[in-house]
Amino acid sequence: MDLFKFLWTGVKEQQMLFGLLTGFALFPIYTAYADLPFWNDVAMRIMLLGMAAMGLNLILGYGGMVSFGHAAFVGIGAYCAGISQFYGLNNGWAHLGLSLGVCGILGLVISFLALRTSGIYFIMITLAFAQMLFFLFVSLEQYGGDDGMSINRADFMLFDLYNPLRLYYLIWSALLIISVILLFIVHSRFGVVLRAINNNESRVEALGLSPLRYKVTGYIISAMICGVAGTLFASWQEYVSPDIMHWSRSGELMIIIILGGLATLAGPLLGAVVFFILEELLPELLNLVAPSYAENWMIIFGPIMIFVVLFARGGLMGWVSRLAARRMSDHGVGQ
């Protein structure tokens, strides 16, 4: 492939993505300077949810497969860490490997079965699989059942995770690696075919390609990315429970993607940032206006979601690119 052309495609999006990544890399310097270590924790959570949303976006945004059960893979990733630690295996790299393997196999089985259906049926069958896994972990009493289990931070050897900054940069590195991998995937032949399937599946088939194979592969990759996010999430939270795979969490991932912008690389990360700003800001705002209702911030968040769906097509990334296009046309560049 023409490397130069590859790097040039979607350069705006890459600027945004690497801008955000640089921001996250420098953020701990700011928090150390301003003495706000709590915000490092928030930033880690944002990066992890952004990572999971990026994984989901590969099939949801680029592939057009509305999977309503991806939180299950995040949960599986987390339980891979939790259960191995339960049996005394505390090596973080082993957890990650296990999580990649389990999520890969599970992604293969689930997508192979689920992709027999399409449309509303696909949304529902992915939800059904996620619910099955959710109730499976609720029923596993020895791993805490409904209440979940406390775990220690995994041992990543080079990274001593009891130093919170090392955990921060471990998560950051994972995010960077996944971003670069996704960048390559999206612009590779595979990514082009995946988008073409989203556009018109029968045409792709007429070209002699098997859409199912591409869709299953995309699903597996996205499941594995969510698994990595989950495994790191377990170390961050030092606690695993079925709540992480509740169906509303899958909804949350979808909100993050649509807030940021479907089928964009930076969108999910941007969406995760905005999601958490809203989550932090709305209670504060309500506290100013009506202090007794501060904890009911969802009553504003729900309508915001509806408005985003109704009026903000393309999410924040769409807004950014429209803004950029207008600025360019103001300067008489590019028609």
Binding site: M124, V138, S139, E141, G145, M254
Partner: protein, 306 residues
């Protein structure tokens, strides 16, 4: 297991099945006829339950409150369709999922602000809190029998409406080919609004009847919503009789599973673990059933679109 226990559980399963059917009947038409993913249908159940519970405390009469709550739920559906839902029909499924997910958050929080986070419990009037003997030695609560009866009457009513009336013919025409129905002079916009409000109303009736049986609390509708989605998918989108069969099957499988599975598990593990794992595994069974159906019949058992 004794025969009486089994019979009692089958009745409980039937009761939860007809309740599920009331929720699923409207939703299957919303999904099937309008091709609209409506996740806030559980909120309609919650609205029905809260309307009935607050009317009971105002009027003090269960029957009056239950009957008065029905038009309220119909009106809620009508207003919701007019204000928001009609703007979403042309959107893709992803947008519909997210907008109606936002609605769930909104309604749950609204109820939490209005009625507080704690669960409401409403007492049954003395005339409904007794038992009847379905067999000489097995008493069964009157109220649950009433729920089964009302559910079956509603099911018969829906069946009559869909198969024997002009509106029903339009609904079926819309389910099998909407643009053709529109070309033949069916007012699709009005039809959609009617289906939506009627669906909200039936979900509301389910909520009203569930009030005295379960905890009436914010978020009570979501587990029911997910279960009724399972029912709809098994029965086939847009098929009311498919939804009825699937609802009864899901209700009985779910209820029997909760009783039978812990008993089976007890023979392989100790009792406390079995009692904990049984209900969760029983909840899995329903999804397993749906997956098996979808793998062999990807459009459900009785799809309306042929």
């Amino acid at each position: 297991m004794t025969f009486t226990l089994l019979l009692e559980q089958i009745f409980n399963g039937l009761q939860s099945g007809v309740t599920l059917f009331l929720i699923a009947a409207g939703l299957t038409l919303i999904l099937g006829v309008m091709n609209f993913v409506f996740l806030a249908h559980g909120a309609q159940v919650m609205i029905g339950a809260y309307a009935a519970a607050s009317l009971i405390s105002i009027t003090g009469n269960f029957y009056v409150a239950a009957l008065a709550a029905i038009p309220i739920t119909f009106l809620c559906g009508y207003v919701l369709e007019y204000l928001l839902i009609r703007h979403l029909y042309q959107r893709d499924h992803m947008d519909q999922v997210l907008a109606t997910f936002g609605l769930i958050l909104f309604f749950n929080e609204l109820i939490r602000i209005g009625f507080g986070p704690a669960a409401l419990f409403s007492n049954l009037p003395p005339s409904l809190s007794g038992f009847v003997y379905i067999l000489p030695d097995s008493p069964y609560p009157v109220y649950r029998l009433l729920v089964i009866g009302v559910g079956l009457v509603c099911a018969a009513g829906i069946y009559y409406l869909v198969t024997r009336t002009k509106i029903g013919a339009m609904v079926r025409a819309g389910a099998s080919n909407e643009s053709m129905a529109a070309a033949l002079g069916v007012n699709i916009r009005l039809l959609r609004r009617f289906i939506f409000s009627a669906g909200a109303c039936f979900a509301g009736i389910a909520g009203i009847m569930l009030g005295p049986l379960t905890a009436v609390e914010p978020g009570m509708g979501e587990p029911l919503l997910i279960l009724s989605l399972v029912v709809i998918i098994i029965g086939g989108l847009g098929s009311v009789h498919g939804a009825f069969i699937a609802a009864v099957v899901v209700g009985i499988v779910d209820t029997l599973g909760r009783v039978v599975l812990p008993l089976l598990l007890r023979s392989v593990m100790e009792q406390s673990a079995a009692d904990g794992a049984g209900p969760a595994l029983a909840s899995m069974m329903v999804y397993l059933l749906m997956t098996v159906v979808l793998v062999f019949k990807p459009t459900g058992l009785f799809p309306a679109k042929g």
